[in-house]
Amino acid sequence: MIWQLKVNDRKFGGIRDTGAVVETRDTLRSLFARYLNIYFELWKNSVTREMIFKTNFVLWIVVEMLWFGLQLSFIGVLYLHTDHIGTWTKWQVVLLIGGSHFIQQMFQAFFLVNCTNLSELVRTGKLDFLLLLPVNTRFLVSVRQVDLGSFVNAASAVAIMAYAAHQLHLVPTALQITGFLMLSIAGIAIHYSLMFLLATISFWTVRAQGIVWGYYNLFNIARMPDEAFRGWFRAVFTFAIPMLLVSNVPVRLLADKLGSLVPLLLLLAMSIVCFCVSEWGWRVSVRRYTSASS
């Protein structure tokens, strides 16, 4: 895959690009086209890779579907014993779980494997190859692999959301749906930034993989109705690790549960903050990188 990228790069005249600074006369547009082209090649690789293990590909989808069903049945059981959690009714929570699953799966499709692989790249010294390529390294590290099965799972989440909306007699406007998608992107950006930040810990300790997987636990919170939480827990998971914003805000917008614009702006602001912090963490970490075994 690396070799293909190299070939590709020759074709484009090997533009030196460190961070955001672009030398030469390249306009922003051709830069964009270049990265799009690289990304296209990465996609082709991912498809090829997935198709080698077809059964495995299908089985992973089954696994994710099972876990999704499991979360839904948990909610089903809870609502056998109550009819509201805060102001959240049963089908609203189903909508929330669907929305949360959608955001998580989209994150997984684009970024998860790449984040968990970073510690491996550092440990084995394979990061050398990526650092040498004339492409923004963070870009390459973050999007190297695409997890295609996750798109199927995201689709199943959308199906569940549609069913829940039907139960709620909810007909979202085009504006609401667009808003939901935009806020989902902000949510995905938060998941990605935080996970990537954790992954950069691997520059300090080899055993970072456990920490990265630990973050996975936090997804559990993202799918719970925010009103269940109070006090320091709610504060921490809103302002420090904004798990309670990631999927609650987009789904609230969809379900007409958004009282004011404050949570919406907060989510957008937090996604920018998280991204900036992770970029800072990445830059500090890469400076520490001393290649292994070479």
Binding site: G214, N217, N220, R230
Partner: protein
């Protein structure tokens, strides 16, 4: 017998090198636990003061989740199934076919030492957490219940291990076992009482689950501690748990024997 003590000894030392990992895992594991407790608190508050869910008061519900966390820390298979599958795939088991050491007992020793090491690290955050919530933490109905709880925990650990071992034997036949392990894990997660106590389910469903080994992987020991299983039901439960342990052991042994016949020692 002595050689197995050696394995345990080395296993503990080996595992303790991962103490930081264990600590992080134990701490991160508390987050979803706290979240689910908050969720229940909101539900109980919404249902009115002193309300019950199934036959659980709020304190009992909190205790239930705390106990499942403790039992899980004591008995859950960590990476043993993955390691066994890798051993088979990479041909590392060849040496065990030649040595006077049984692979199943060897792995069991490693599993037990792994749990001991994990518990040594996780006990601190878990203990502090339970102390913080002690006003919600109910005590067992008596010494006998506590004793039988511990017996049941040991059986749970064995059941967990033998089931995982049997699952890992799939590596003799398929290249990638992790999906199968995750599929089984999903069923275990819901049917063993990880997500909620099984007796808040509709009665028919709860009864049906008792025909599977899953409740004996977590729910049953906790229900002994909480005095939910007593008398004849308790004795019958323990015997059934023992039955499942032996069944899982038999399947594990049988799968190994059949697998070995097919085994070609790749790279060994």
């Amino acid at each position: 017998m002595k050689k197995y003590w050696h394995v345990i000894n080395i296993g503990i030392q080996n595992n303790l090198t991962y103490r930081f990992n264990f600590l992080v895992r134990a701490l991160f594991g508390l987050v979803p636990l706290i979240a689910v407790l908050y969720l229940w608190r909101t539900i109980y508050a919404g249902n009115g003061a002193g309300s019950m869910v199934g036959n659980y008061t709020f304190a009992e519900m909190v205790s239930y989740y705390l106990l499942t966390t403790v039992v899980d820390a004591l008995t859950a298979v960590n990476e043993d199934d993955w390691q066994i599958a890798t051993d088979i795939k990479d041909g590392n088991i060849s040496q065990f076919l030649l040595k006077a050491i049984d692979y199943l007992w060897f792995r069991l020793c490693l599993f037990l030492s792994g749990r001991a090491a994990y518990m040594a690290v996780a006990a601190v955050p878990l203990g502090v957490f339970i102390l913080c919530l002690q006003k919600y933490f109910v005590l067992p109905p008596g010494w006998i219940a506590l004793g039988l709880f511990l017996v049941s925990v040991v059986l749970t650990a064995l059941l967990q291990f033998f089931i995982s071992y049997a699952m890992a034997m799939l590596a003799f036949w398929v290249l990638e076992v992790s999906t199968f392990i995750f599929i089984l894990f999903a069923f275990e997660f819901i049917a063993s009482g990880h997500l909620f106590p099984l007796d808040i389910l509709p009665h028919g469903l709860e009864r049906a689950l008792y025909y599977t080994p899953f409740p004996y992987q977590l729910y049953f020991p906790v229900s002994i501690y909480m005095g939910k299983a007593a008398g004849v039901e308790l004795i019958r439960g323990l015997l059934l748990q023992l039955f499942w342990v032996m069944a899982a052991y038999a399947v594990a042994r049988c799968a190994w024997r059949r697998g070995i016949r097919k085994y070609s020692a790749v790279g060994g």
